[in-house]
Symmetry: C2
Subunit: 332 residues, 2 copies
Amino acid sequence: MKTKQIVLASRPKGIPLLENFNTKDFELAEIKDNEVLLEAMYFSVDPYMRGRMNDAKSYVPPFEIGKPITGGVIAKVIKSNTGNFKENDIVTGNLPWQQHCNALATSLLKIDTSIAPASYYLGILGMPGLTAYFGLMHIGKPKAGETVVVSGAAGAVGLVVGQIAKIQGCRVVGIAGTDEKLKLLKEEFGFDEVINYKTCTNLKKAITDACPKAVDIYYDNVGGETSDAVISNINFNARIVLCGQIALYNSTEIPMGPRLQPMLLTRSVLMQGFIIGNYQSQFGEGTKQLATWIKEGKLKYKETIVKGFDKLPAALLGLFEGDNIGKMIVKA
Amino acid sequence: MKTKQIVLASRPKGIPLLENFNTKDFELAEIKDNEVLLEAMYFSVDPYMRGRMNDAKSYVPPFEIGKPITGGVIAKVIKSNTGNFKENDIVTGNLPWQQHCNALATSLLKIDTSIAPASYYLGILGMPGLTAYFGLMHIGKPKAGETVVVSGAAGAVGLVVGQIAKIQGCRVVGIAGTDEKLKLLKEEFGFDEVINYKTCTNLKKAITDACPKAVDIYYDNVGGETSDAVISNINFNARIVLCGQIALYNSTEIPMGPRLQPMLLTRSVLMQGFIIGNYQSQFGEGTKQLATWIKEGKLKYKETIVKGFDKLPAALLGLFEGDNIGKMIVKA
């Protein structure tokens, strides 16, 4: 059958551009034994994908030029050559940016849409939700009464981190880049204080004011000067969870900043970088807890859904402009 | 009785100078109940003292202008008004820089000179030895076969860290600033590789060459550009133990350097600042283990002993010039 795919046309230098992607028509082969034919429903776009556009060694291999971008996808089974899946099953997997694709049964997970809508499995019940859960609970180790600061607070991970911290009895301060996001964090998601890093004239002081007892946990999704301002307010025995550094992903040179070690040393601070893959053996525990909180109404969810397969590159680029509130999804 | 003390005359800006100290004769009062009269034997000079010369909030309060410097001291009891100590007992405590002083019995510990010479209780069996032990074992958590890099390797802490890492079956690479120190590290203390950060033209590459499987544990006593070079060679799941930042202690502005978070994130690295006070409840365990290794001949020790009470300020200043090999001590 004829279908469409989006491939990496060239590697970006600095900020990625639409011209780094190319949409192509192609002929999809017939499925083989143990394969299914899938029709894509939702695609996930995530900040970490920027790193894969570089030709650099990291925890995931780089995308290849001329090959389709891959990422988290929710899809419907159209045709099955395996006993594991039947027509109309809804599945998730790491799949190519294609309207249709053939996939090995062993690379897919069936999802339960009676618990939550299908797209949630790319967000709060998928990689971003688990990232929030394990980063905060296993590295941050929040205690009731502590102050938690979240950067990128209105993003897919940040929104969940803030809410889990509230469930743990913490004071939660969110940092984001538009007043619309701040309003949402405070009014819908229960953040105690919010700060607009773009319009704030003195971010360090704004954090001091919002955190009179200093910062016990900093869940960092952005890095750069926002992190400098938070870390200058860090408490003794604080934990810094390094989850994302979106402010730096488009840097072409190694960015410079104030040296952190003297502060981390004299205040006995822990800083831990992590990727969600480290917790793979505990995904079941995490998903179960997140689903329970959703069912109990303790955890709310927000998506920005962009419509149209062709919009995938623009949606990914939009992450770096802060276009999304909550999880950014592309509906095929 | 008449005796001498050394007080903080003024706070240094940047590198401390001899003129920041003042030696004074004064009349010591008679001891009261529960006090002892002490005659100083050995004084410890340590890099952390530089921080106390600033008027800044930290984990220890600043020294006061016109008041004596205080630190680790070994002293002999001359006269006792307490049942806890008798004449000629050798004790250790946090005491003023004075030839004689009065001290409360509750602030002192008697030391056992049958296990090791008295001065060892300021070094390998005191704060620096415990700092090496807890930082490496509790934060670094070395596994046999891993690569450990120690900066400030010929200092009081570094020498012990390297030897404990060898006891744990690690490959140990030491960084120091003179060829005399390097020779000692390799020939007497069993370091596998050594690097002179002062004469090396490309420190990053030298570390790559010395650590072909990358750096699993970085025990950092110095900070600055040495740390940049080590961290650019850091392995996935590595641990960075932040013990000292002597390269930065005399900075008058916040020093700048490459931002570390992207590297720590993508390689799932832990960085932990600590001070030895955090482990106070476990000092007994640490001292016992260190004494056992000394007795078994697995742990060697080295001191640089400066003679003369009046030399205390110069000895402290010498730490920042790398004058010492092993623990720097002043003999009264």
